[in-house]
């Protein structure tokens, strides 16, 4: 554990050098989220109703702000590029001789990056929350908030392993950004960070329920707002754990096969 903290510390320094770029990316996402908020303000105003699709205006604004904060550490465009490059450009050889687990090394670097973009993003969101404080809903309860945090954390793990799998296929392919790009595109709608998933027509909801993406934003935010029943929470956590276990299982299997190929042919 200690050595991975050391990795994280070194990574932190490394990424700080790119803070301007990361900050610009985060603030870009922030602006996009503000536009969505403006859209919903406008819809509520036009409809002159208190509730749209089960959401009051403050709930909707809070939902979108929360999704924005979650996005600041999930939706990074280059997710997985580093792993792909390490494998394809041969840095992996250097890591393999060291006494640590390379996947855990990547995981600690990734969470370090998440922490950094979270810090870069949270400031702007806090300012907006202050400005829109009339529309900001506090967590349903302290328990809900804690469970929400846990769900966000699991969503991050899920996200990491999903992209990790589509990065280590670099053992077999020259370019791996293709599948990751498609996932990112689907994620942009299927996490629910633009529109709460419950506002979609039924068929779409059915599709989104079968995908793992809703656990990255929609599910945690339902807990935060107190819109998920206990059964739904338990069911959700069970599902997300199944997803994570499955992804970890696949990734371990792929990693083993990939390493065998890597050491057999070199790179």
């Amino acid at each position: 554990m200690k050595k991975y903290l050391a990795v994280a510390k070194a990574t932190w320094q490394e990424y700080l050098a790119y803070r301007t770029n990361l900050f610009l990316e985060v603030i870009g996402g922030f602006i996009a989220q503000l536009v969505i908020i403006a859209v919903w303000f406008s819809i509520f105003k036009d409809l002159k109703t208190e509730v749209v699709g089960g959401y009051s205006l403050p709930e909707m604004i809070t939902y979108l702000l929360g999704a924005g904060i979650i996005n600041s550490f999930i939706l990074i465009a280059s997710q997985g590029d580093e792993i792909n490059d390490d494998i394809n450009q041969g840095s992996l050889s250097g890591f393999l001789v060291k006494p640590f687990s390379v996947p855990l090394y990547w995981l600690s670097r990734d969470f370090c990056r998440r922490a950094l973009t979270f810090i870069l993003g949270i400031g702007e969101y806090l300012v907006i929350i202050l400005i829109l404080s009339n529309y900001f809903v506090f967590p349903f309860s302290l328990t809900n908030f804690l469970v929400f945090c846990l769900a966000v954390f699991l969503g991050g793990i899920l996200h990491f392993f999903l992209f990790y799998i589509f990065s280590i296929i670099a053992f077999w392919m020259d370019q791996t950004w293709g599948p990751r790009f498609v996932i990112r595109v689907i994620m942009s709608i299927a996490t629910g960070s633009l529109i709460p998933l419950s506002l979609f027509p039924d068929t779409w909801q059915l599709v989104f329920n079968l995908l793992p993406f809703k656990f990255m934003a929609y599910f945690p935010l339902q807990i935060y707002l107190g819109k998920a029943s206990l059964t739904e929470i338990i069911l959700g956590f069970s599902t997300v754990l199944v997803w994570i276990s499955a992804l970890i299982g696949i990734s371990i299997w792929l990693w083993g096969r990939g390493l065998k190929k890597y050491s057999a042919y070199g790179n």
């Binding site: 610009l24 870009g28 536009v35 749209v52 465009a77 293709g178 595109v185 689907i186």
Partner: protein
């Protein structure tokens, strides 16, 4: 002029060859890019599933706005967007911009169109299909004048975005890592996906006059639908003209800086 068209043709051909070399990536990219376009339509469908009107826009008009946005986006990502935001900083970082300056070719032209993205070009066919869908399902009657005006404003929007990106890209001559600015630009452009009528107060003023995001999709669509104020159009034309002059100055300044400071 013929020379420049020929060179663009070579750039497109070469890049198609380059990208077809990695066929799986090419097809996934096209799938991803077309999905991304369809998602915008889906977003609007879901919004109109919950409301009949968005900031005064009906669904059939929003559909026009969405495909206008997608048209602009397709044009810029196929041509200058990535060239200026990602490839130019890379060219400068590796020192290969030196060659650009020694060739009998406009450096801005070379920097903007060096890589004509065939993945985006292929995905653009969806836009043509969406236009077909619009004319067969939603379009009402329109005059030839409004169509011409629409095309002119589309061009004005492109000039605005090009100038904006030239200014952003010029910063690459001072900072080593300028890719963050490219991503930032992407998000700015993306705000144009929604009608600027959703903004109120200061934001409305900002996006209409100070930093006319409205030009990306809202204004051309309104012109097509015949609901635009002529005085505002005149303002936009003057604004874009001045903005373009400024961007030209900034670019020249950046080139001068490069040739006095690089080593």
């Amino acid at each position: 002029m013929r020379k420049y068209l020929k060179i663009i043709w070579i750039f497109s051909k070469v890049n198609l060859q380059n990208e077809m070399a990695y066929r799986p990536s090419f097809f996934l990219a096209v799938i991803g890019k077309t999905t991304r376009m369809l998602i915008l339509i889906l977003v609007f469908q879901v919004i109109y599933f919950n409301t009949p009107l968005l900031a005064g826009w009906e669904y059939k008009d929003i559909f026009l706005l969405a495909i206008t946005y997608l048209t602009i986006e397709s044009i810029i990502i196929t041509t200058f967007h990535r060239n200026l935001s990602y490839y130019l900083p890379d060219l400068i970082k590796k020192g290969n911009f030196d060659f650009v300056l020694t060739k009998p070719l406009n450096p801005l032209f070379y920097s903007s169109f060096r890589i004509i993205d065939s993945m985006d070009l292929t995905s653009s066919f969806l836009v043509i299909f969406l236009w077909y869908h619009y004319f067969t399902h939603y379009a009402g009657t329109f005059s030839l004048l409004s169509l011409i005006l629409y095309l002119l404003l589309l061009g004005l929007g492109l000039i605005f975005l090009f100038s904006l990106l030239v200014i952003i890209a010029s910063s690459a001559f001072w900072t080593v890592n300028a890719t963050g600015l490219g991503r930032f630009f992407e998000e700015i452009v993306r705000t144009g996906r929604f009608p600027t009528d959703v903004f109120k107060g200061a934001f409305s003023f900002l996006f209409l006059y100070v930093f006319p995001i409205a030009l990306i999709a809202t204004v051309p669509s309104k012109a097509f639908l015949g609901t635009i104020d002529w005085r505002y159009l005149a303002y936009l034309a003057v604004f874009t003209f001045i903005f373009t002059l400024i961007s030209k100055r900034v670019w020249n300044h950046a080139l001068r800086h490069y040739s006095s400071a690089s080593s």
